[in-house]
Every structure is written in C-alpha cells, then in structure tokens.
Amino acid sequence: DQLNFAGGWPPNSRPNSVVEDYAAALSENSGGALTMKVFPQSLLSFGEANAGLRDGMADLAVTLTPYFPTEFPNMNMVSEFAELTELPEFSGELSSAAFAGAISEYVMTQCTECKSEAAAQNQVFMGASMTTSYVLQCVVPINSPEELKGKRIRTAGAYWSRWAESVGAVPVSISVSETFEALNQGVLDCTASNTADFMNFSFIDAVKYVYAGLPGGQFTVPTMMNKDRWDGLSAEGKSALMKANAKMAADMTWVYVDIGRNGKTEALERGLEYGPAADSLLEMNRSFIENDITSVAAIYDERFGLKNGAEVSTALRASLGRWTALIADVDSAEALAEVYWNEIYSKIDVNNYGM
C-alpha cells in the first residue's frame, strides 16, 4: 500500500528531505508493506492541505492549523502557548524540541477536543514539530522599548500582532515571499520570523540586526492524516507509521534548529549584529508573555467558547518543565526521536487512536 504525502516545502529544501526520510522510515518500519510517495508542492499548497486531506487528495500532509482558525480552535489555542518557551525557565536553543514534545503529548493523550475537531475535518493528528523561536530581524537598530515604537514589523500571526500592538509597533501583514524585498526597500523595518526562515527566505541578506528572545513564539507544524486512510491501515501498518511519526517530528524540529544555528554562524561571520535583545526589551517581553497567557484564554473563550484556557496553559507549563529536562542532553535528531518515541509515540494504543 502506498501513502501520498503532500508537502508544502520546495523540492530541494532541507524540510522536504526530512519528509523523504519520513517516507523511507515508514517503508523500513513496515518491512516494505507500506510505502510513501512525497509530492513537494506539486499536490497541495499549505493553504489547500486541510481540504485536500479531508477529501483524500493526499493521505498525509502538514496542516498549518492557524490558517483555519474556525476549524481548529482547540489546536490553535494549545499552539499559542508556545509563547511560554521564551520565559527564562524554558528558553534556550532547544526550546522548540521541548515544546514539540509537550504539545504532541498533550494533543495525543489528553486533548480530546483537539482530536475531535481534527476528526470533523476527516483527519487524525500524527504528532507535531515546532519551528524555532521567532526573533526580531531588523534593518535598523532597536535597543530599547522606546525604539520599537512606530516601527513597521512583519507579523506572521496573531501572537506577533498582539505583541507588536502592545509594544507600540505597527504590525504589517505581508506574505512571506514578499518580506525580503519589503525589508530591502524599506517598506518594513523588521520582520518577526523564526531563526530558520532567516536563512530560508534570505532575510540574512537584507537585515543588519537580529535580536533573540524578542518577540518569541513558535509555529506548530502538525502532521495530519486522512482519517479514512488511517482507519483502513492494519495494526502493524499503524505501528510502523507511529514509529516514523516520532522520527518525523524530531527530524523536522531538528532541521529548523540546525538551519537556525547555521544562520547565526553565518550572520556573525558577515558582521551582522546577532545576539540577545537588550535587557530592558527582554524584561518587557517576559511581562508581555505572562499577561498574554491570560489574554489567549480570554480570546478563545470569547471567540470560540473555549473555557479551559487557564487549565491548558497550566498543564503545558508543567509539562514543558519536564520536557526541558528530558531533552537537555539531546545532541542529534536521532536522540530526539528516541526521546519522543519512548515518551509519547510508543505509548499510543494504535488500535484505539483516532477511532
């Protein structure tokens, strides 16, 4: 049996090769009984992935749930708490690996609402990776909260827009493919983007200053599967896929971390200013996050009637502490995959999961 994976990344990109490895792992785990064909960008774009999976155009894809706020309110609220990773007790180069573990575990083992809203889209959650943290990448220096005022900053989603509004900057919505030119020509002062997109979209060629720790936040990259296809797999097939899912979540998260690392090295070599933001800014940011956690709960209650925002953030905070410790010594994608497998994916009862 062959599964189709519709990827949204360009054919020769590193994220796409992670998907190719995922396909290879599935075939190996299943002894060749299950294979996977990868369609990079030729089958479904990120914007089409949700409906495409629902109708069975592809069997697996990455559904970027923030693109579909009304369809995935629970999943999106949980994802918003990625902002926690910028708090001092969790922050660090591998915070995305910790949060990917925390969110995958939470969704797969606890969040029934998340699973039922995915089922309503005829999908089953296969685990999530995270991008690296979002950092401010600017063409002008920003050394204090005052200097943020009035700066035009590209924001990729609600968290960053709330942040920009609260610090007195001007949130600008611009498609990611136009951001490079907008920075270059001065339409924008900064972009709030993750440290991997700093390289993927060549922002390194346009900006002069990179401020880590500001504004924070990460993007969740969940793999979803068409529910009919999942239901139709044998128990062995499901186990083989679950094992591959752990690898996919780890590899993808790791590739972002690695691209981010390379970006920092290259930026420093080229003489860009790349380091932690000024203390006054970091302090401001942390107090913003502490307030925002309450705001997120209130926003999702108001918009979608979700009452459990406070509970969820408390649970994730506790779990994130555990995950930060779990991955503290991880030094490779393989090691990360092993942690994910042992802690989450191996514990899923594939016969009941998604049913």
Partner: protein, 435 residues
Amino acid sequence: MSEVAIGLTGLGFLMFLIALRVPIGISLIGVSFVGLWSLMGPQVAWGALGVIPYQFSANWILSSIPMFLFLGFISYHTHLTRGMFNAARVWMSAVPGGLAIAAIFGSAGFAAVSGSSLACSAAMGRIAIPEMIKHKYHPELATGTVAVAGTIGALIPPSIILILYGVIAQVSIAKLFLGGISAGLLTAIGYVIVVFVRVKLNPALAPERDEQVSFADKVLALKDTWPIFLVMIGIFGGLFGGIFTPTEAGAVGAFLACLVALVSGELTFDRFMKAARETIMTTASLLVIAIGASLLTRFLALSGAGDYLSAGIMSLATSPTLLLVGIILVYLVMGMFLEPIGAMLLTLPIILPVVDSAGWSLLWFGIVLTKLLEIGMITPPIGMNVFVIKGVVGDLVKTSAIFRGVLWFIVMDLIVVAILSAFPALVLKLPELLN
C-alpha cells in the same frame, strides 16, 4: 490502464479538445476532473474542484494582475500614452525610418505601464500606424514594427507573464521584473537595428519626411509626455524607494494614472468603466486557464505522467546545450499555435523540474521563457499581436502582409534569445543589485 497511462491519455484528450476550439480553460478543468476521478475516485475529483479554484484565485500576489491590467487600460483610454509617441516622432524626424523607430520607443515606454504585449500593440497600433501610413511608409513595415514592438510590453515590467511565472515557480517577482528590463531593452535595440538596416537597404520602405523640426519644437513635444512620465516615476520611484511592494505597485500605479488623467481632464466616468470592464473580462479569461492548469498539475502529479515526461526530456537531452536548444524549439513550435500564457501554464509543471535539475537559474529561465512566449505572439498561424494590428488597420493591410512584415524581426528575436542564453549575466546582473 496504469496511472501514468491515464495521465498521458488525459494529456492527449486535452490537446484534442483544444484543437477542436474548446476554450483552453474549460478543456483543462474538464480533463483534470475526469482524470482525477478515474485515478482517485469521485470524492477527490469533487474535492479538488471545490477547493482549488478558490484557493488559487484568493491570492494576494495574483491581485496585481487585474491592477496592472487596469493601469494599462486606464492609461490608454485616457490618452496618457499619446504624447510619448509624438515626442519620439519629433525627436526621430531626421532618422531614416524615424516613425517606425519612434513606435518602438513608444512601445518600450508604454511597456512600463502595461502588463501585456497585446495591450501594448493595440495602443501603439492605433497611435503610430495611421501616422506611418500617412507618410507613405510601406504597410508591411508599419504594421510589422508595431506588432513586434508590442512584445516589449511583457518583458519590461510590469508583466503579467512574469507575475504568473513568479507565483508558480516561486521566484521573486521584483527580481523577475528587474531581469525583464535588460531583455526588454535588448529587444527594443534589436528592433531599432532591424528597422534601420531595412530602410538603409531599401529607402522606399520609409520615404524621407520633409519635416523641419526646430530644437524648440523638440523641447515643446516633451511637454506632452509629462502624464505618462509622472505615472512611471511614481511606480518605479515608489517601488525602489521603499514605499510599496511590487504587488501593491499595480494598484498604486492605477490610482496614480486615474489621478493624472483627472488632472489633465481626460478621465470620464465612461472611460473609467470601460477600462474596468476590460480588466475584469481579461482577468477572468486568464484566471480560468490558470485555475485549469493548477488542477492539471495535481492530475499530472498524482498520475506520475508529469514526472514521466520530465524524466523523458532529461534522458533525451544529453548535454545542457542540447536541452536548452530543445526547450527553445518546443516553445517556438508551441508558440506558433498556442496563446502564450496558456502555453506557459500547461508546460511549467513538466519543464520546471527539468530546469531545476539542470541547475539553471529559475530567474533567468523565466526571462528566456517570456521572450520565447512573446515570439509566439507574432509567429503564424496564431499570432495574437498580429491579429490585434489587423483589427486596427481593417481591410487596409492583409494578415499575411503583416506576418511578412514581422519576419525580419523574428530573426532578430532569435538572435536576442541566443544572446540571453549565452550571457545569462545580462539578465541576472540587475536583480543581483537587490541583494
């Protein structure tokens, strides 16, 4: 039937329907729907038809297409472009074939506010051809020059073809625009040389005008070019001065053109509505094809026919030069029969992987492709630019005579393609300045 066979059969049917004059977009959508159904079942076919047309059209970057079209139509209907040809005419009065050369310069100027070569030919045709006929220019030279000069419109930015290419190939549209400038200017220079050489060889083609133009008159003629220059400066100044993005440039440019036309008293409600109606019709007829091609891409991907054909091309072409020559020939032949945007959208799913694995710059390829597609606009039997000119001159000149007038320029076009292929730096230098 194997999946690849279903894909190839679908492509065969597609060609058959197009040949039977079924509109290209409808053929594409119909074949893709039936193809997806037979490959993946009804749910996928219905799903694709429900999702892709919306998702494809709801695209911010594509929104620059109607805006650039509107900019061109408004500029034409409010006569913003007329002064440019007049100025070129006065300045070229002493040069043999001066009116034809002025038409080329006029087209290059209009190209900077128009996204399509058709609009460029249509506009310049109505302004320049009557003037040339009045001065006893040979009709073949007069009509041929304007038909080919229109193709500069798709090379010099803005360009609808380059926008669509950029969206599909994921190449920066600003860089494509910059790359198009050199190709457009090179084309314009080439055409001027052709006119010059032809008139030198046979002065009867373009009789000398006994026009004595004083320097004062020349300066005076520049006065009427201000509206179009104002719009051009607004667009390019704003684009590179950090005020707006290439996508926004269409809307701001159209707004500027309306403003300038309003100030110069040329903007009426009727003209505005006429330009807007032409814009929506052109947008719809382009987007239907693009939506169909987008559906076809999924069908080709799922059937494996796309990969099969790309791999076939790669295995046939044993050297990069052979591959390039092959691609050029394919597009020249296709350009004879097909409408260029349709031809591009039909072939990109197969050609882009080939270009990618050959290691060529997608930016450079976009410019060469546009140049090749534009040659298709002037080659028989289907030469859209020629037909537009035919529409302008009516019974005065036969279609075959216009095609004869175009022939000389096609030779120059092939030289330009060769130069662009041999020296990719010509295309890539300007965009590199962006970094």
